[in-house]
Amino acid sequence: MPTRRPAAALALAAGLVVIAGGTTGLLLTRHSTPAMHPVAAGVAALPAPTGPIVAPPQSAAPKPVAAPVSLTIPLIGVRTNLMTLGLASDGELQVPLLSMASVAGWYTGSPRPGSIGSAIIVGHIDTTRGPAVFYRLNTLTSGDKIYVKRADGTVVEFRVTSVQTYLKDHFPTEDVYGPVPDPELRLITCGGAWDPATHHFLSNIVVYATEVG
């Protein structure tokens, strides 16, 4: 049966090629991808936004403030519009979609920035490929300035008081979302180790800031 010989030889050759391909693929994917780290702050510092700085109200009944529309953190090059975020059906805070990872969002269930209470703004640390809007958030330190522009054109200035990293399993809900008696801001993003099983970071970074009055 000599006609069978080419088929068998072909199978042998194809098998060897597949083995070679498989081995190459295996060897090429044996390395780890290192974590990217934000470079020290100070790069391309943005100028502070223009607009009147609004001092906190001194009267007993403070005037209501306008909704926030944009966020600027000159030291880490953040300048973003603010989208609005609510709660997901599971009770967790909504986050911007992957396609909107360059935009931060204000949680509409929190006070407006500049009014009494703890206003919440969240943003992604990264996309599936690289840095996102809050990539450098954890390089902020006490005293750094944050500006929020509001729908009426006024700008409210905040100063960082503390930067904390919390395991998500031990997230301090009361400290972050609980009532406070002065105008404060909390910026939230992810940090810490990446869990490939859940495709989530294990920690949250929270920047606490208070209005400069």
């Binding site: 042998l12 780890s32 996309t127 990539y135 979302y177 009532p179 939230i188 970071f201 949250n204």
Partner: protein, 290 residues
Amino acid sequence: MKFWSVSTRRLLMLLATSALLLGIPAAATAFAGSATSGTGWIRLAHLSPNTPAVDVYMYSFDDSKAMIVLHHVAYGTVSPYESVRAGDYSVAMRAAGASATSQPVLSTSVTIAAGHAYTVAGMGPESGLRLQVMDDALTTPTGQALVRVIQASLKQQEVKVTLGSTVLSNSLKFASVSAYQAVTPGAVSVTVSAVSAGAGDANSSVTLAAGTVHTLVVLDGASGLEVVSLEDASGSGKPPLGGVQTGFGGTAAHGPGSPVPWLVVIGAGSLLALTGGLRLRRNRQLTVRI
């Protein structure tokens, strides 16, 4: 203190005195902060109806230089909260315009704990004026608002305070403070009426959002009662559950991917090659026989 020897006490006094003489500005200014940075909050109020305006001073413990001075604080005034480092402070009241070094009309000490808020108010009639330290709430039951009432009307010694259909107090006496009450959020009307007839009701409306703390202050107005609503603190009425998923992992460290798919490919290739090889060998044997 009683355990300290005389010499230790003398040494401490000497140190304290020299610190004052050298003008070491220990905590000389109020600074912004929050619970996570070891700070608390304080606000000052004048709620004594027949006491003239005062200057209110706040000192850090053992520091003769005032860190907060509020000039000409009149009856009915409540300051915004100031953020201060946790610790011991004293609050003093002097007649408006009196020298900062004069003997205060009255003073009190207050210990500020990190993450806590306090109201220090001049209360009572002028003849029995006192400084009262109130511990202000900063947590609300989930989905609710907290309200309390300070009764600072001297003309109407007892008042009834209702919030919508909820009675906050049937008979709140002058210079007293009600306990906090948890209420359902919403816009509601506030009514304050004198328990003994003689004065008209004071009406107001207040919007109570979930996760907010409010103080209603009952005052003697130009004619009859007045009520002032203060929003003391505010947070997220519906706090999100747990942490926030704000990353897709593009900047995270990744381990090598699973080798299984490649091993399957190699296995399949081996099988194919083996089959081909065996066939080839059998064919050769057949060829030899023929």
